[in-house]
């Protein structure tokens, strides 16, 4: 009765026969990419496609949309909220939420203005103190959350309200404080780099990416581990180089690369490296994925939580400082309104999960660009606010539908 199929004896450690390997050829790359597209494993690609669609549509409606001037403005418009997003992402990775980033940015702006303008302290010292005030606030939030056990939502809601009170109090009865047009603070957003610096940075970044990836894969191959082919590394480098060089060309057509945008990009890159390449980042992901497992692995979960909230508030403070720099003023409504919602939304649109353990620092950049492009385009088109609100909603949905659909097909595959 037995009908045994003969199975060849296989060496342990040999490549698993079930693993579908893409050939190291151009056609293999393409078929692999298609397979991943269908399987929803493409990471940020759907959102990038959404962004491209938004750009094409707006450009066809108003030819100024893709003009160097508008794109240059766009890069500056997203900086402040983008930095807050970057901090929010850290908190979202933990599976928590920070509602206070807007208020904290406002307080930091107020601290900066009071110190630098009213008290006449050296601007650089004032900036440092404003950033530190953000850090302190974050440590406070984190401690109440991690040590006392008040849900992060409530802690940071109290922060949202309370720091707004502090901001109003600091600004006093005059309300608005003007920041000088020509100081260090203003220069943060008023400085543009001359073309060759832009090119230097771009070529440097792409070169470092290529070299590190290429060497890394070579070392992997040498160690007998699965590695990407030279072709794939080259293709990836080119895919990176296109937007980077494109951005440099466009920005150089206007005033050059804005310092503030570089600061933002720098934070994104550093945070990305920190999250992916350091023990600290690994621990953040672990706590967000399964806090109890992380605790059992000997990770000091409370410390991670406190530090993440501290980072989030620090970044919010930096965002507040750049907002003050860009508006040449700190007002009682700095950081209020929909700043918080935009910061969280950028993170989520960029692909960071609200449920913890999944996401990347690049969400801040991508999501920020999507939201910034929508706003920028709609302002160019000049519509009634009621219509503008409705269209914003629709465009927002369109930008994420592609991502949602591909994610959904992955979810159908996920283990329950």
């Amino acid at each position: 009765m037995a009908q045994q199929t003969p199975v060849a004896k296989q060496e342990v450690g040999a490549r698993d026969p079930r693993l579908i390997v893409d050939a190291a050829s151009p056609s293999g790359l393409v078929s692999g990419a298609l397979r991943r597209l269908r399987g929803g494993e493409l990471g940020p690609v759907p959102v990038i496609i959404g962004l491209v669609i938004i750009c094409v549509v707006f450009q066809s409606l108003n030819s100024n949309f893709l003009s160097p001037q508008n794109l240059s403005n766009l890069t500056l418009q997203i900086v402040s909220t983008g930095l807050m997003s970057c901090g929010v992402i850290m908190v979202l990775l933990l599976g928590e939420i920070d509602l206070s980033v807007g208020s904290v940015s406002g307080v930091a702006g107020a601290v900066l203005a009071v110190l630098a303008v009213n008290q006449g302290i050296n601007e650089i010292a004032a900036i440092t103190l404003a950033v530190l005030s953000g850090t302190l606030i974050g440590v406070l939030h984190g401690t109440v959350f991690a040590k006392v056990g008040v849900p992060a939502f409530v802690v940071t809601l109290a922060g949202l309200i309370g720091w707004q009170g502090v901001q109003l109090y600091l600004l006093g009865s005059d309300g608005t404080i003007n920041v000088p047009y020509d100081g260090v603070i203003a220069s943060l957003t008023q400085t543009y780099f001359v073309p060759w610096i832009g090119w230097l940075l771009a070529v440097g970044a792409v070169g470092v990416y290529f070299a590190s990836t290429f060497l890394g894969e070579r070392r992997r191959a040498a160690a007998g581990l699965p590695a990407k082919s030279v072709l794939e590394v080259a293709v990836r480098t080119v895919l990176l180089a296109i937007p980077v060089f494109g951005a440099v060309i466009v920005l150089n057509l206007w005033k050059g690369i804005p310092l503030a945008f570089l600061i933002f990009l720098g934070f994104v890159v550093v945070f990305d490296l920190m999250l992916r390449k350091t023990r600290y980042g690994r621990m953040v992901f672990a706590v967000g994925g399964n806090a109890e497992a992380a605790r059992r692995a000997g990770i000091n979960v409370d410390l991670i939580r406190i530090s993440v909230f501290a980072l989030a508030s620090t970044l919010a403070a930096v965002g507040g400082i750049l907002a003050a720099s860009r508006g040449f003023a700190v007002t009682q409504s700095s950081g209020a309104g929909d700043v918080l919602m935009l910061a969280i939304a950028a993170a989520v649109i960029g692909g960071t999960s609200l449920f913890g353990g999944r996401g990347s620092a690049y969400s801040a950049l991508l999501g920020g660009l999507v939201l910034g492009a929508i706003t920028s385009g709609l302002y160019l088109l000049q519509m009634d606010s009621s219509v503008r609100y409705m269209i914003t909603a629709v465009v927002l949905l369109i930008a994420v539908v592609l991502d949602a659909v591909s994610r959904r097909s992955r979810k159908a595959h996920a283990r329950g």
Binding site: M1, Q4, T5, K9, D16, L19, H413
Partner: protein, 261 residues
């Protein structure tokens, strides 16, 4: 032999870059216990989920009582009369024991949940499986591993299934509970149900299974009458080699002194 109640042919299923199942066939007759065996990661649970409608197959055909059917949602399988105990148990940790037992099949009276009736039935059921649980009203998150498994097993007995699939049902169970579950499987067979049993415990398999179907790396690797087949032959089919850690270990233990460092 009677017509098979459930028959799969050519089932393939891929997850991303992994081909978890390739062209798998399986038949279950009423009143038959089929053991589905295979190494870790061989694709057993994936096959169960295909049949249960949790992860529909990419290609392949499912026949139920001879007629082709489509099973795209868990509800489809339940409607056919397939009850499933999943390896990961699939319990709602926030709900209490009674709520988990009756999930999706709550008893109601006058539109409201009949908690009394459900709790009574639950108590009966668990007593018959000789598990001791201090209180039926605690969330299942606080239960021990074996207690959770028993809850999952008890659940499948509530409906009136024609085929029961048990994915490693006794893995976390104590000796007494294991004996009860094996008794239970025999009772199910005697009532004419088809049973698919996944287990790594050869003793249990030999005790209750009629037929053993072996998967290896996602492919069929043998179909044996359990009674007629020596233990070593089945293990060799599972591991894919006559010389495997099991036989090595067996040899070593019987010949003490020949241990390697």
């Amino acid at each position: 032999m009677s017509e098979p109640i459930l028959e799969l042919s050519g089932i393939s299923k891929r997850f991303g870059a992994v081909q978890a199942l390739s062209e798998v066939d399986l038949r279950v007759h009423p009143g038959e216990v089929v053991a589905l065996l295979g190494d870790n990661g061989a694709g057993k649970s994936t096959l169960v989920k295909v049949i249960a409608g949790v992860n529909p197959a990419d290609t392949g055909e499912i026949r139920w009582e001879g007629k082709p059917v489509t099973v795209n949602r868990p509800g489809d399988a339940q409607q056919l009369g397939i009850a499933t105990i999943y390896q990961d148990l699939a319990l709602c940790d926030n709900l209490d024991i009674v709520a988990n037992l009756f999930l999706g099949a709550e008893r109601t009276s006058a539109g409201l949940l009949d908690e009394l009736e459900m709790e009574r039935r639950a108590q009966e059921l668990l007593d018959s499986l000789s598990v001791r649980i201090p209180s039926l009203r605690v969330p299942v998150a606080s239960l021990s591993g074996g207690q959770r498994q028993i809850i999952a097993i008890a659940r499948s007995l509530l409906g009136d299934p024609k085929v029961v699939m048990l994915d490693e049902p006794t893995a976390a169970l104590g000796v007494a509970q294991t004996a009860q579950v094996l008794d239970l499987i025999e009772r199910l067979r005697d009532q004419g149900l088809g049973v698919i049993l996944i287990s790594h415990n050869m003793a249990d398999v030999r005790a209750v299974a009629d037929r053993a179907v072996v998967l290896r790396l996602g492919r069929n690797a043998g179909d044996f009458r359990v009674e007629d087949t020596p233990y070593e032959e089945i293990v060799a089919a599972i591991t894919g080699a006559a010389d495997n850690p099991v036989s090595r270990r067996a040899g070593r233990v019987t010949v003490p002194g020949s241990e390697e460092a």
